[in-house]
């Protein structure tokens, strides 16, 4: 008997204890029960046990409890109860029915322990888990998501990833992430990405990827490394959004810009040509006209017949000169009108041979050495007529301005540029030009730099006009007494 009292004491000390009759009317509560329910024993005794019902559990749940204990069986479970002040608490509950001689319960002993804190923690966790799954849902709905392990092997992809990459989940899982590599980005760029995330840092950038069908797409990408307890990444989550349209737009804008710049450049060139043209008219045409006018004036006022005849005789060459200049001008204007001129596929070797035939006598006479290297570019897309004229002028100059001290060596070569433009160079070992002195002048009309009887100052002007009419460039390098090299750049050869 004493032992039972000890047990009861131990139970009262450790647990929340209540006893009800078979109808659920409370006839005993211990101090722990009063503490947690915030009722006094007087307030509880004689009350229906439902006084602490929180209304949280379903009817079915409560019914199952009563059915169990009414059948004389022990019920165990977690209950949410309500204290006097309206706050709720969770208790781990064991209800033991005490049976009479007919095996019917005549009272129920409910032993509870407070699990409010644990329950709160559980609810918190549940909430967080729900939140996380909501986030994941939102992310999967809105973004292109892939997860790889630390080696870049794909372990998860969402539907959006499959849609844009045109691979199925099955085809992707277990594959190296490089399966969608487009090869567009430089090695350095990719290395920088991996270095960043391997260090546990977030990487953000724009990537061009390749889909299964070979088409490419642009994605704005954020890669978040997930770190283990040692701070090392164990997986990478890549979140992307499709920016292909934007990129297309950007490329379009870039292209239009380039076009605009090209147009501006052409306009600038046309403007320079116009200024050149004005200068030619205001000087080169005007000069002989002035001469004629002065000669005529002189004749008019001269009293001496011999003198008159002498001066009259000077008019004819001036008129011829005027005619020459005028014809040159017309020729150069015609070039300028030929911007829509048809280009031909020129086999340079053939073209050069044809031009060189015209210089055969001079080459033999001067014992000139013509060296040709067309390995880098053997054809040029350009108007045949202009190409012949350009080669003729450049070779003619190289021979005309040879040094009296050495045999002429003329090197004709082609070079292919990265942008597919071709540069033709004609280098000689002749007299050379002082470019410091004549920099702006060498391609101008009627500008000559040597005391050569055949120097007219028209060849290079025409060459430049023809080159520029086809959007090419011409320039020269030269050292007096060492030789000159003329370069002609033909615009990128997109056939």
């Amino acid at each position: 008997m004493e032992k039972i009292t000890d047990y009861k004491y131990a139970l009262d000390e450790s647990s929340i204890v209540a006893i009800t009759d078979q109808k659920g009317i409370i006839n005993y509560v211990n101090d722990n029960f009063c503490n947690i329910s915030k009722y006094t024993a007087e307030e509880l005794i004689g009350q229906d046990h439902r006084i602490i019902n929180s209304g949280y559990h379903s009817k079915a749940f409560i019914k199952e409890l009563w059915t169990t204990i009414a059948n004389g069986k022990v019920w165990k479970g977690e209950l949410k109860n309500k204290a006097k002040d309206g706050t709720v608490y969770w208790v781990d509950t064991t209800i033991v029915p005490f049976l009479n001689e007919n095996n019917k319960p005549y009272q129920y002993v409910a032993i509870r322990s407070d699990i409010t804190d644990r329950k709160k923690g559980e609810e918190e966790l549940k909430k967080i888990l729900k939140e996380i799954s909501d986030y994941k849902y939102a992310l999967d709905e809105s973004a292109i998501v892939a997860i790889t392990d630390q080696k870049g092997i794909i372990t998860h992809v969402n539907d959006n990833f499959c849609k844009i990459s045109k691979y199925s989940t099955k085809e992707l899982i277990g594959q190296d992430h490089r399966i969608i590599n487009s090869g567009y980005h430089s090695k350095e760029f990719i290395k920088e990405l991996w270095t960043t995330i391997a260090k546990g840092r977030v990487w953000k950038g724009e990537l061009k990827n390749r889909a299964k069908d070979g088409s490419t797409y642009w994605v704005d990408t954020t890669i978040v490394p997930f770190l283990n307890h040692a701070g090392k990444p164990y997986q990478y989550v890549a979140i992307r959004s499709d920016i292909t349209e934007r990129k297309k737009g950007e490329e379009q804008i870039k292209k239009s810009n380039e076009k605009a710049i090209e147009h501006a450049h052409i306009l600038e060139l046309k403007n320079t040509q116009l200024v050149d043209f004005c200068n030619i008219v205001s000087h080169n045409l005007r000069a002989p006209l002035v001469n004629i006018s002065m000669l005529v004036d002189y004749v008019e006022q001269s009293q001496d017949e011999d003198e008159r005849n002498e001066v009259l005789g000077k008019i004819k060459p001036v008129v011829n000169h005027l005619m020459d200049v005028f014809n040159e001008l017309v020729e150069s204007i015609q070039v300028k009108q030929d911007t829509e001129m048809k280009s031909d596929h020129i086999i340079l070797k053939d073209c050069l041979e044809k031009v060189l035939i015209g210089f055969e006598t001079q080459i033999q006479e001067y014992d000139a050495d013509i060296q040709i290297d067309l390995n880098q570019a053997s054809t040029i897309y350009f108007p045949q007529k202009y190409m012949e004229s350009i080669l003729t002028n450049l070779i003619s100059n190289a021979l005309k301005y040879k040094s009296p001290d050495r045999k002429p060596i003329i090197k004709i070569a082609t070079k292919k540029e990265a942008n597919n433009a071709v540069i033709l160079s004609v280098a000689d070992n002749g007299l050379g030009i002082d470019l410091v002195l004549h920099k702006d002048q060498i391609f101008k009309i009627r500008k000559t730099f040597h005391r050569h009887p055949d120097a007219k100052g028209f060849g290079l002007f025409m060459t430049k006009t023809q080159v520029e009419a086809m959007n090419g460039k011409i320039w020269a390098e030269s050292q007096p007494e060492q030789g000159s090299t003329f370069f002609v750049e033909f615009k990128p050869q997109n056939t």
Partner: protein, 132 residues
Amino acid sequence: MNPIKTLTLIDDDNIFVFLTKKVVEQTNLVDLIKVFGNGLDAINFIKENKDNVDALPEIILLDLSMPIMNGWQFLEEFTKLNPLIGKKITIYICSSSISHDDITRAKSINEVSDYIIKPITKDKLIDLIKTL
């Protein structure tokens, strides 16, 4: 009135040189007319005679468009040389160019007294020499 000793023409235009010489001779104002066909020959002559003031001209008629060394390039060299010359040399640009750019550029050079557009008349020549 003291006639001028030397007038120099720097011009590659034979007709202009021929006529100007004739006109200047008729004025009887100038003892000697020296002609250079380009700027380089002229500047070399001035360099060689920079201490020999008697050989240097009082007046230069300078063309702009010439081979080897044009008028502008001559003026550049002359500007460097001028402080070393013990004589005042008056330079007139005498060009057939009516380009506005040329005229403004000429006016901006201290060593240039005026820009004369060809053709140049006898009266104008006399005027130039007399106002010296």
